[in-house]
Structures are given as structure tokens and as C-alpha cells.
């Protein structure tokens, strides 16, 4: 059981080509509670993806900390963070599927190192595919999918092992209104299971949300709480 993700004075800056520093996240302090869906909005290029990547342990902050259950996971070494990500499901902005694999195999990917039998991995993945409505595409190569179907595959991969943390970057891009609602329902369902669900989206309309979210706005490197 997790209480949430806390970030304290979280800063991320990049060195640009002309040796100048660009600060993307500037001393952000926030608590993303378990059992609630947190939505981060903001204009394009304000650092929503960077924030999600930092929270998910995919990249290290320049300063500050990301805390989970009172442990500073941002200070952990790579192997520890890799292991921690077994509790996390990530939907990337650019779906990042393995092109050599089929839809089913992509969804099975997080389950393979967990030591389950192949048939258990398969049935769990089929279940996830059914929930996103892609069961009949299971055996297809991902290269044959449309943008929306790829997004749904990425969503199925993120939820397949019932994670405690879900980081979804633009989960409704390339999707029609009905599919968007379906994806948000899925994320809300996981939030109700006491998972920490953080969604980054720049064009999300709140009426697609099934329940009340925590809404943040990220602008000029600063995160402000809009609705609680």
C-alpha cells in the first residue's frame, strides 16, 4: 500500500547547445496522492513530460527529491530504480512500443521478468487487451496499428500488472472522444484501487473524467494546484 508520491524542491535543467542552461522544472513541491487521479496540464513545452519522467525514475532531477513511502527514490542507483519500476506502469507520449513484437507480446513485456509462467503472462495480457478493446489485434504486429490503437496498446501494457503507480503522458492523443473516455475510465478505475495515477495532458477536457481529479497547471517551470 502506498501513500503517494511527493516531490520536494524538484528542479530539472538542461544544458543547451550554446552552453546556456534551461530550467524546465523549478523547485516543484507537490504531493500526488494515492487513490486520486492527478492531472497535470499546461502549454506545450512546459515540462510535463520531464516531470512525469522524473517522477517515474526514468531520468534524474538536477536537484530536489522524489519521495515514495518516505524513501527518496530519485537518489537510488539505477538497478534499484529499475526494480521499483516493476510497480509502475508508464504510457509514453510517443507510445514507445517494441516494433519487432506483436501487440500481445508488447503487453506481456512487463510480466516476463516477474517469474510468472508464460501462460499466466499471456492470459493476464489478454485480459488487459480486452479492457482496452484490442483483443482481436493481439497477434498483429504493432507496426500495423493506427496511432490510436498504439496508444491503447501502450495503455494495456501500463496496466497489465496492476501497478501501484501509473504515469500517463497524453493518454488520449490520437483517440476519438469515446476511446478517450474509455482510457480515462480505466485510469480512474486504477486510482480507485488506491494507485497513484498521474496524467499529463495539454488538451484534456474535464468532462471526459469520470470523477473529481486533482488538477495542476505547469507553467514556466512552476506547478500550481488548480482544483483539489
Amino acid at each position: 500500500m502506498t501513500s503517494g508520491i511527493t516531490c520536494r524542491d524538484l528542479s530539472v535543467s538542461f544544458t543547451l547547445g550554446n552552453k546556456k542552461k534551461r530550467t524546465v522544472l523549478d523547485k516543484i513541491t507537490a504531493v500526488f496522492q494515492a487513490g486520486k487521479m492527478s492531472i497535470i496540464t499546461g502549454p506545450v513545452g512546459t515540462g510535463k513530460t520531464t516531470l512525469l519522467n522524473t517522477l517515474a525514475g526514468l531520468t534524474r532531477p538536477t536537484s530536489g527529491e522524489v519521495m515514495v513511502n518516505d524513501q527518496a527514490i530519485s537518489r537510488w542507483t539505477g538497478p534499484h530504480r529499475d526494480r521499483w519500476r516493476r510497480q509502475a506502469g508508464i504510457v509514453f507520449q510517443h507510445d514507445h512500443l517494441v516494433h519487432d513484437l506483436t501487440v500481445l507480446e508488447n503487453v506481456m513485456l512487463p510480466l516476463i521478468p516477474l517469474g510468472h509462467t508464460l501462460s499466466a503472462c499471456r492470459s493476464q495480457s489478454m485480459d488487459a487487451l480486452e479492457r482496452v478493446g484490442l483483443l482481436n489485434h493481439a497477434g498483429n504486429p504493432v507496426t500495423s496499428l493506427s496511432g490510436g490503437e498504439r496508444k491503447k496498446t501502450a495503455m494495456a501494457r501500463a496496466i497489465v500488472n496492476q501497478p501501484d503507480f501509473i504515469f500517463a503522458d497524453e493518454p488520449t492523443s490520437h483517440l476519438d472522444a469515446e476511446s478517450s473516455r474509455q482510457m480515462m475510465d480505466l485510469l480512474y478505475h486504477h486510482a480507485c484501487r488506491n494507485a497513484v495515477v498521474i496524467v499529463a495532458a495539454h488538451g484534456l477536457t474535464l468532462d471526459t473524467l469520470p470523477g473529481p481529479p486533482l488538477c495542476y497547471r505547469l507553467e514556466h517551470g512552476v506547478l500550481n494546484l488548480l482544483i483539489s
Binding site: 539505477g78 519487432d100 516476463i112 521478468p113
Partner: protein, 382 residues
């Protein structure tokens, strides 16, 4: 029986079946070539050593101004036995005679003094008018009679062939009755071609040479077993030089294979990044890559090494002997020595398998030190 990760690694191979098959075949053939090149000189060396162990410690010959000449048996044996360290002395009758395909070494044999190993493998010793021949004496013919020409020309009945295992030394050998041998090379009764002397201890071979030479009242020349081994070893140099030359393209091919494999694995950094993002640890990825490489490398190594053993030790591999020594006759059969063969297997494994498997480790190790996000970024560019 197999873990999910192992099955996943095998499935990964099957995703590119032709590429995996090609890699397996290339690896098998390269291992077979390198294995054969490493195994052949060792097989010759081992066989020489095994056969030389059965040879006398010292061979003593008399010579005069014209060259080697026969020595009187009773007097020579008596003198040799007076030298401290000598255990036994055997007079031998032998010489070079013309056979149907060229010069042959003819040896007169009798029951006493014959090497035990050889005697036990012959059905019987040749009587007058009979011979036992080596495998290369009449190549490709089912010999019934053999015409030999020394001082006289005569036909002999072939009653047996010498064991194939000894053919490295005996392929041009003709064993015959001592009386026939004397007649053929015109050796007077009571004389021998040389003396085979055995000493009490291996280390005494060199030590008693001066005593032996001094004991005889006529000039003699002695060759020890160790010197014979040295002569044989120098003959092997040709094979070793050829190995060094022919191994180069094989090693270059291996380097290319490793480079291609490494680049292929490095090109999958983005996939490895995605795997890490979905909860795979560096250890999982290393195990996955290792299983995938082993599924190809291990069968290739086993088949390749077996192939090289068949080529060197198996029948019908005449091209190896022909290539290295120019033996046009039936190829010699080699002794398989476990220690030597094991060394070659380890050499081949180290030479072939370690770099290929290491090439699978590199991308995973590189990924261990990289940010997962940086690894994945490559996928977006695809």
C-alpha cells in the same frame, strides 16, 4: 524445464529465423575451421609422442668413411651391455628398398625384441616369402603380392596390414622375415643394421652417450628418443606455420561476426530502454541477451567442435593431412589424447564463444550506466 525468460529469449531468436540460422551456420563453420587448425598439429604431436614412447631409448649405428655400415651382432651387443645404465640391447635389421610406388622402409622382424604393442596387434609374424605392410605401401590397392627391389628383386605374399593407428610412422613400412630381409639388402649373417638400446631411466639417455661411443672400437652415431622427438617436432613447424597463416582469415571472420553482433545489439538500445522502463532490470536484460546468444552459440560450438574432431580424427579426412604435410597416400590415423583435445576445446571456446557472448553483454552494460530516458529516445527517432 525452461524459465519464462529463456522461452522469451528463444522466441526472440525465432522472430528473425533466417538471421539466427545464418549466424548459427557461420559460427559452426568458423568454429569447425579454427578447431581443425588448432587440433591437427596437436593430434600429430600427441601421436608422435605416443608412438615415440614405444621406440628404443637410443639407436646406435656404426659408420665408416662410406657412411653407415652393418655392425657385428655378438661383439656389438656384448660391448653395449658393458655400459652402465643399459638395460637391454636389440640388434635390428632394416634398410631402404624400392616398392611399387617408391622407396619403402623394410624391417626384418622376429618374435623376441618386437615392441609389445605392435606384436599384440598382428595375427602372426611373416614367414619366408611373406610380408606385413603399412597402410601407405600400396595405396588404394587390395594387395595380394608385393614386389620389392633391393640388391635382388623378389615378390612377397602380403599377409596383413599394420594397425592404422600407427600409420604416422608405419605408412611406408614393410615387415618381413629376418632372413628375407638380409637377402634383400645383402646383409651378412651375424650382422645387424643398428642396435636398439633401452636404458634404465629416461634421464640417462644423454648421459651415457659418451660412454657408449667410447666403448666401441669403431665409430658409432647414437640418436636418443629425445632427439627423435626434436626432429619430429621440427617437421611439425610447417604445419604450425600454415596454422598461423590460415587462422588469420578465420579470426578476421570471427571479429566481423562479433562486430556485426555487437552493432546489432547496440542498435536495440531503444528497445532495451523500453524494457527497462517496463520493469526489466539490467540483470534481467543480461540474462535475456545471454540466453539468446547461448541458444545459437552453444549448439554451434558443439557441432563445430565435433566437426573438427571428425575432420582430424575421423576416416576420410585426407585433405587435412594432404594440406599440411602433402601426404598423398591414405592419411594417418591419430591418437586422441584427452588432455590435448580438452585444451583445444577450451581454446576454441575462449576464441569463439567469449567474444560473441561478450558482444551480447556490452549493450546491457552500457544501458546499466545510461539514463533510461536517454536509451528510449532512440526509439522515437526510428
Amino acid at each position: 524445464m525452461f524459465s519464462t525468460l529463456q522461452i522469451w529469449a528463444f522466441r526472440d531468436l525465432l522472430r528473425r529465423p533466417y538471421e539466427s540460422l545464418l549466424l548459427g551456420i557461420t559460427l559452426t563453420l568458423t568454429i569447425a575451421i579454427v578447431g581443425t587448425l588448432l587440433l591437427f598439429p596437436r593430434a600429430v604431436q600427441d601421436t608422435l609422442n605416443t608412438l615415440l614412447k614405444a621406440s628404443p631409448s637410443i639407436v646406435l649405428r656404426r659408420f665408416d668413411a662410406a657412411g653407415f655400415c652393418p655392425l657385428p651382432v655378438p661383439a656389438s651387443v656384448r660391448v653395449a651391455q658393458t655400459v652402465v645404465g643399459v638395460v637391454s640391447v636389440r640388434p635390428r635389421i632394416w634398410g631402404l628398398v624400392n616398392g611399387p610406388d617408391g622407396l619403402l622402409t623394410m624391417v626384418g622382424v622376429q618374435k623376441e625384441g618386437m615392441p609389445e604393442g605392435l606384436a599384440s596387434q598382428l595375427t602372426r609374424l611373416p614367414e619366408r616369402g611373406e610380408v606385413i605392410i603399412g597402410f601407405g605401401v600400396v595405396a588404394g590397392q587390395s594387395a595380394g603380392t608385393l614386389q620389392l627391389e633391393g640388391v635382388i628383386r623378389q615378390n612377397y605374399q602380403v599377409i596383413d596390414r599394420l594397425p592404422e593407428k600407427t600409420s604416422l610412422f608405419t605408412h611406408d613400412l614393410v615387415l618381413m622375415n629376418p632372413e628375407d630381409a638380409r637377402q634383400l639388402i645383402s646383409l651378412p649373417k651375424g650382422y645387424a643394421s643398428d642396435l636398439a638400446i633401452d636404458v634404465f631411466h629416461e634421464g640417462e639417455q644423454d648421459a651415457i652417450l659418451s660412454d657408449l661411443a667410447a666403448a666401441f672400437s669403431w665409430p658409432v652415431r647414437c640418436v636418443t628418443r629425445r632427439q627423435s622427438q626434436g626432429i619430429s617436432a621440427s617437421r611439425l613447424n610447417r604445419a604450425r606455420t600454415l596454422v598461423a597463416i590460415t587462422v588469420i582469415p578465420a579470426v578476421l571472420a570471427l571479429c566481423l561476426l562479433v562486430a556485426v553482433n555487437t552493432r546489432k545489439s547496440m542498435g536495440r538500445q531503444s528497445d532495451l530502454g523500453i524494457m527497462k522502463a517496463t520493469g526489466w532490470t539490467t540483470g534481467d536484460i543480461i540474462r535475456f541477451q545471454m540466453y539468446r546468444e547461448l541458444f545459437v552459440c552453444l549448439p554451434s560450438a558443439v557441432v563445430g567442435i565435433c566437426l573438427s574432431f571428425v575432420l582430424v580424427y575421423g576416416p576420410g579426412a585426407s585433405w587435412v593431412a594432404d594440406f599440411f604435410f602433402g601426404w598423398k597416400t591414405i592419411p594417418p590415423s591419430f591418437y586422441l589424447e584427452t588432455t590435448g583435445a580438452a585444451t583445444v576445446v577450451l581454446e576454441v571456446a575462449a576464441l569463439m564463444l567469449v567474444p560473441v557472448i561478450a558482444s551480447a553483454f556490452l549493450p546491457a552494460l552500457k544501458g546499466a550506466t545510461s539514463d533510461v530516458h536517454d536509451m528510449i529516445k532512440g526509439a522515437g527517432r526510428r
